[in-house]
Structures are given as C-alpha cells and as structure tokens.
Amino acid sequence: MTDVPSPGRRGFLRRSIAIVPAAGALTATGFVAGQQVAAQAASAPAAAASPPYTPVYFHAEEWAFIQAAVARLIPSDDTGPGAIEAGVPEFIDRQMEGAFGQAATWYMQGPFVPSSPLFGYQGKMLPREVYRAGIAATDAWCKQQKGGKRFAELDTGTQDEVLKGLDGGTIQFAEVGAKDFFTFLLQNTKEGYFSDPIHGGNKNAVAWKMIGFPGARADFLDWVDKPGVHYPLPPVSINGPQG
C-alpha cells in the first residue's frame, strides 16, 4: 500500500488502499443500495471537478493535517468515495468560521470545571481553538515520536496509529484535550460527509449515493406501502439534482 504525501496541495485527490481490520464484526454482503445508483457511486466524480477550495480559517500546515486526517477517518477505496472526494476539508474549514467553530449557541460562561465526560465538553476553548491547538500538538508529538515528520508526512499506517492514540486516550497533550480534539474532528468529518452539499461537503451527494439516502427528496407518500422494494431514484440536494 502506498500513499503520496500532499501537504498544502489543494485539490489533490489522495488515493489509498485501506486495510480492513480482520476484527470487523460484519457479515458483509457487498450489496449496493439502489441498484440504479450503484454505477454512479462507483465512478463518483473526483473533487477536482469543482474549483479548488482555498481555506479561510486553516493555515497551510493545518490544512495539510486536515486533509491527511480526514482521508484516514473516511478513506477512499473500492467501497466508495472517501472524505477527500466528498469535500470534507472544505466543510470543516467553513464550520470553523461559522457558529459551530465559535460555539455561538453553546453556554460558554465560566467557571470551567473539569468533570466527568458524561457532562459533555466543558472546556473554555472554542472548537476552532481546539482544532488549532490540537493540530499543533499532534504535529509536535509526531515530530518528536516519528522521526521529525509532521502528521501529514507520515505513511498511512502510522497516521492510523496516531489517530487511534488520540481516540483511545493513549496520546495526551498538556495544552489541549486530545480526546476533545479527536471527538470534534470525527464528528465534523462525518457531518461533512453526510450533510447536504450546500454546506461544502458531500460533493455531488457522493456519500448519499453510496449508502442509498435520497437526501432532500422528502416526499415518500408513494413509497411507504412498498415493503421490500428498493427506492430507485438518486439523491437530490436542497440545491437540486446532483451529478
């Protein structure tokens, strides 16, 4: 398996062959929902079809991290499109500048008391600040532990190992909660993958096509009494038909 490091090269489509953990508890059938959609999903238009996105919040090194990390969280492989084709980095950058990144609708008054994770995120830092500090801390950790390379410069197997460390609590940082950072990153990655294309991710509704969700069609009166029949129509966005 090979992977080309592409720090800072916008619009570059990372292709990688994923390793499927042997521990997968699935009896996979390989079936694609909505047969008429299958062909389109398998040959999803590349992100290069849309003009390259210039990040507004993230710096070049941060942008390289975001692209590398989301490409591991939702990889590109024969199963279907990954986070890169879906435009997830653009989605996350836009979220940083919006209400989510600024915690505009969260209660952010102190005191900020360390407490059990059961009470949700209790940090003083805004999500965008957690990203900035989290990326810097992860890159610094990688440089120290992985031969002077930043996260985006590592091979994909090592990147997975680092992400698992952030997720599982084996990597900790003094200046920012590693788990908080990973939780936001994974949440936003999945949001960008599955949200309506109007938000910058899920380009051409590629993720919806892959799973068989019709998106903004939102009218199934003629389908509710058709048990056991696959829905035939491809998804639409709030903006209209998708590729």
């Binding site: 390793i19 609708t105 952010m108 005191p111 008391v113 059961l118 709030i238």
Partner: protein, 590 residues
C-alpha cells in the same frame, strides 16, 4: 426598577407554545384581554419551515436551528446533592425549544392519552400490591385528576390536532386493531392511522404472533387532509423523514401554527409580543397575589406588565425556574423533604434494539414520519402484574420509523469501528437495511432527584440558572432490564440477520451527551395535598390563586408515554376551571 410600564391586561401568558396557544384561545373566547410574551422569535410554516430549506439535517437536526440558544440560558446538571453541577453547554440529552410554537414545532407527534392508572399511580399500586411495594425514597403520587375528568379534554386535543389512529376502547367496548389497554374514549380518532413502514409491519406481525397487542401509533401527523374545529386546515403527511427537530412543511404535523394560531392571531383581544424575555412574576407585598410580570424586550428595556391573571406556559424547566426566581411557593429541600417547588423532577429511561436485515429486505429508513409505526402497551403502566417483578413502572415498546437521516440516525451493528475503511463499508452495506425497536420507559420521582437554582452559573441577564440534580435509580433500571428482555424477544422474531441491544444497566449514570428524551417532568407538580404538590388539581398555585402553571412540570412522576397530549388536555381542563369558576369569583379553586 422598570423603565417602561405597560397598560394592564386581564391575563398574561408566559411562553407561547402549545399551552400558551390553548390558553390564549380559551381565555380570549371568555372575553379576556390576553397578552402572550414569548422570549424567542415569531415562526410560521412559511417561511420558516418551507421546503426545501427545512430538509437540512445539519442546520436543524444537528446544530438545532429551532432549539433554545444555550449561550444565553441553559441548566446545570449533577448526579447527586453532594456534587458540583456543571452547565449543560451543548444540546444532547434533551432539546429545549424556543420561539413561537416552542418545542411543539419540533416534536414528532406521538399522541398518547395517559392510562387511567397512570393518573392515580399511588392509589393503584397501594390497592394492588400494598404500601410496602413502593421503595423508600420514591415519591409516588396521584395527579389529583382522573381519566374520566380528562376524557373530554383528551378528545378535544385530538380533534384540534387531527390525530391519526385507531381506537382500542370505545365507551368501554374493546375494538380490534387498537390499544386494548387504553382508557375508554367517547370517539374514534379524527383520522385513520398513518400507513405503516416496512419495519413496523414486521414488528406488528412479530408482536402479535408472540401474543402481544400491537396497534398503530396514534400520530399528530395527519394521514389525510383535515379541517379542525377552529377551521384550521392540515395537509396529509407525506413521510418526508424530517419531523422531530424540524418544522413541518406539509402542514401535516400538529403544532400551534397549524392548529390554533390561524384563529387566535386574528382575535382583537389577543396580543403576542415576541423577543420578550420574562424575568419574574411580580408579587404583591404580602406574597398572596401576582401583580404581573417583568420582562426584557428586544432592545434591552425592562418592561413591567401588570396583569390580573398570570399563566406560566413555558417549558417544564422554565416554569419551575420562574417560580423559584419569583419566590412563589416553598422551595423544595431534599435534606428535610419539605417544600414543593423543584420537587419530583423526573425523566424517561429508554432503550432499543438496532436491527439489520439482509439485502432482500430493504427497510428504506428515509421513508418516515414522526409517529409512523406500531406500538404496544402490554408492559406499560400497570397493564401487567408487577408483583413478582418488584419494580414500579413500565414502558411502551414500538417500531417507529422517523426518517433515517444519516448524520444522526445511521445505526451500524455493534462492534463496527467508528471510523476508517471498515466503518465506511458497514455504512454502505447496512444503511438501507436498518431499523430499530425502541422502548420508552417511566422514571419515578425520588427524594434526591430535584430542581433548584444554581449557586454559581448565571444566564445572559445575570439571573441564576436552574440546577438539575438527577441520576438513574435501581427501580427504573430493573424496569428497563425487564423491558429489554421483551424488546430482544420481539426483535429476534422479526428475523433480522443482526441485532444490537442498547439498554442501560444498574450502575450506569446519567450521561447528558446522547439524545434521550425531551420528556422532562415535574418540579411544580399537581396534586391534592399542598405539602407534596406546588399546584392544585386545576393547575393553580396553592397560595397564589391568580397564578396557574401549565406543562409537564405538573406531572408527579413520569410514565412510558410522550407527554404532549396530557399537557394539552391538562391545559383545557385548567382553562375550563378558570372560565367556569375562577372568573366568576377569583380565588382558590381547591
């Protein structure tokens, strides 16, 4: 000191959701000059819930565009009185409403009448199992109003909503196809049940073959075009899949906007002021009467609004907080067990099984309505013998398909990694074939689950936040373990290739992060004893006769149902007492 003083009104309503709209209709009909104060914005089907913008899962379902902005006000939460509470900083466990229509805009329309036994729970258990059956520290109480008294109001609220369902008990005669456990009803539902999604058809068959009594979930999602008694027209639900957390673009989901406001907003003796944030109820020097309310308007002015009658129509938590901020009623103290305001906060304990089927059985989870599916009541309320089981309460079990929206509702088999190639493969292979069987369980009231004001955290106006002290108790965990065994039995009988069980177990603590239920109850409970209830059976504050308190804050404990229909019926019941008795001779009704 107020900077602006407005002319007096006959009645001021604090909050303008379901109960505000019902009270507005009833009190204006009685000839009163009524003012509703709503802290949020005005909202209507057009433009606020219009297609296609409303079908945006990220903005509405995940970021909560219609929910309360927690940056201005939230609650704090802790597990025990010995802990320090921390703020509920992001929406998770429950979703507080905001704006005209309140949470009545973004509910999903499960329409349940309380069981007769639910309204007289202590009497029922004492008679059937003896006093000793009720555990130490549990506050089990009767509502103080009976099913027979509420029946006409349940009936009225169903007609207002255009509820779709099948009667199970018509005037005492059990009807095939309905809920045989329900209380008697004078009339069939206004509309026939919604069509059943595939998964609910399987659930119905499995439950029936196991000897249970499934029936179509009664839905405040109109199954046909409908005109309600006020002339409001509802459209037929089209199973769009964007129901709970969203406004309804089809005019099919009952909300204040679709059922009551078209009439109410035209009445010359009614006024609505939005962006008017009530700070407190103002009291006479002797504390025996309310003189009106003080609110902050959109420009930040403090406004004094005199009124003869004050009706708290906000959400359960906000009603309790306003009583505490206004020093109305005696504050509850868990150390002594004395006091009533904040007492008996309760919640719900839900569980579920996620089912995945083979590729020849697509469940099409995106085809859904807020309340489309089947439910069963065999293990709810006191519909089964608790004697050998040793716990109080029960749960409804259902298979409801609300939309399968992929950010929130993609459900993968247990053991699937949360990211990476295997996660993606599982998402692709399972989404179309997923469904769930859920349970909605009762939570009783306990001495140390309660609400008061937080000593540290403040809202945007500098007033203390409400503090919730709550954790799961053994009785309710025993209930959910029992229900879980039934859910698993039914799920297996539906014949999926894979089942993932999700039920809490003894020792689990309340986790505020995942969504669970916006069925928060208690804190200003109704009853017949002023030592154990904040309001009397007419929802009137015991010692302050010109203040009434609507909402689920009145429930002495929670049950296995969604609360809205009971909240609606109690508002009509209270309005009738105001119109027929109180207005002729203002004073204590009980």
């Amino acid at each position: 000191m107020a900077t602006i003083k407005k002319p007096s009104v006959d009645a001021v309503l604090v909050g303008f959701g379901w109960t505000g709209a019902i009270m507005g209709m009833e009190l204006t009909a009685a000839g009163l000059k009524v003012l509703a104060l709503e802290r949020g914005e005005n909202r209507d089907t057009v433009p606020d819930f219009a297609y296609p913008r409303i079908t945006d899962e990220l903005s509405y379902g995940i970021r909560g565009k219609l929910f309360q902005n927690l940056s201005k006000e939230t609650v704090t939460i802790r597990h025990t009185p010995a802990d320090v509470a921390v703020p509920y900083r992001q929406h998770g466990s429950f979703l507080l409403g905001d704006g005209v229509g309140g949470a009545g805009v973004h509910w999903n329309g499960h329409h349940w009448r309380a069981l007769p036994a639910d309204l007289q729970l202590r009497s029922t258990y004492e008679a059937r199992y003896g006093k000793k059956f009720i555990p130490e520290g549990m506050y089990l109480q009767d509502f103080g109003v009976t099913y027979d008294e509420l029946e006409p109001h349940f009936d009225m609220f169903e007609k207002i909503c255009g509820t779709s369902g099948k009667a199970g008990n018509l005037k005492g005669q059990i009807q095939a196809g309905g809920n045989p456990f329900e209380g008697w009803r004078a009339n069939e539902y206004p509309l026939p049940p919604l069509a059943s999604p595939n998964s609910a058809v399987l659930f119905e068959k499995a439950a029936r073959e196991l000897g249970y009594h499934p029936f179509p979930q009664a839905a405040a999602n109109a199954s046909r075009a409908y005109t309600n008694p006020h002339g409001a027209q509802l459209g037929p639900c089209n199973f769009c899949g964007f129901c709970e957390r969203y406004g309804c673009y089809m005019y099919a989901k009952a909300s204040p906007q679709t059922t009551l406001l078209p009439t109410l907003m035209k009445r010359s003796n009614f006024e609505l002021r939005t962006r008017s944030h009530v700070q407190r109820v103002n009291m006479s020097p002797d504390g025996k009467r309310a003189t009106g309310v003080t609110y902050i308007d959109a420009q930040g002015n403090e406004v004094e609004q005199p009124a003869d009658l004050v009706v708290l129509c906000a959400y359960q938590m906000h009603n309790v907080r306003l009583l505490l901020l206004s020093n109305i009623g005696k504050k509850y103290d868990p150390a002594t067990g004395e006091g009533v305001v904040g007492r008996s906060y309760a919640y719900q304990l839900n569980g579920g099984a996620t089912l995945h089927f083979d590729k020849d059985q697509p469940m099409n989870p995106f085809v859904g309505a807020g309340a489309s599916g089947h439910a069963m009541d065999d293990f709810d309320g006191d519909n089964f013998d608790h004697g050998p089981l040793g716990f109080v309460g029960g749960a409804t079990i259902n298979c409801i398909n609300t939309g399968g929206r992929p950010i929130q509702q993609l459900a993968l088999p247990a053991g699937t990694p949360t990211w990476g190639a295997a996660w993606k493969k599982a998402a692709k292979e399972n989404y179309v074939y997923q469904t769930s069987v859920g349970s909605q369980g009762s939570v009783m009231a306990y001495r140390d689950n309660y609400l008061d004001l937080d000593p540290t955290y403040k809202d945007a106006f500098g007033q203390p936040l409400l503090r919730m002290t709550f954790d799961w108790k053994d009785n309710d965990m025993a209930m959910t373990a029992f229900i879980g065994s039934k859910v698993e039995q039914i799920a297996k009988a539906m014949g999926p290739k894979h089942i993932s069980m999700g039920f809490k177990k003894k020792g689990d603590h309340y986790d505020v992060r995942p969504y669970q239920s916006t069925h928060n109850t208690g804190g200003a409970v109704m009853g017949t004893d002023p030592k154990t209830s904040a309001i009397n059976r007419y929802l009137q504050v015991w010692d302050v006769p010109n203040v009434f308190v609507m909402g689920a804050s009145a429930f002495p404990q929670n049950f296995g149902y969604n609360p809205t229909a009971v909240v609606g019926a109690l508002a009509y019941w209270s309005a009738k007492a105001i119109r027929e008795t109180y207005l002729k001779n203002p004073g204590a009704l009980a």
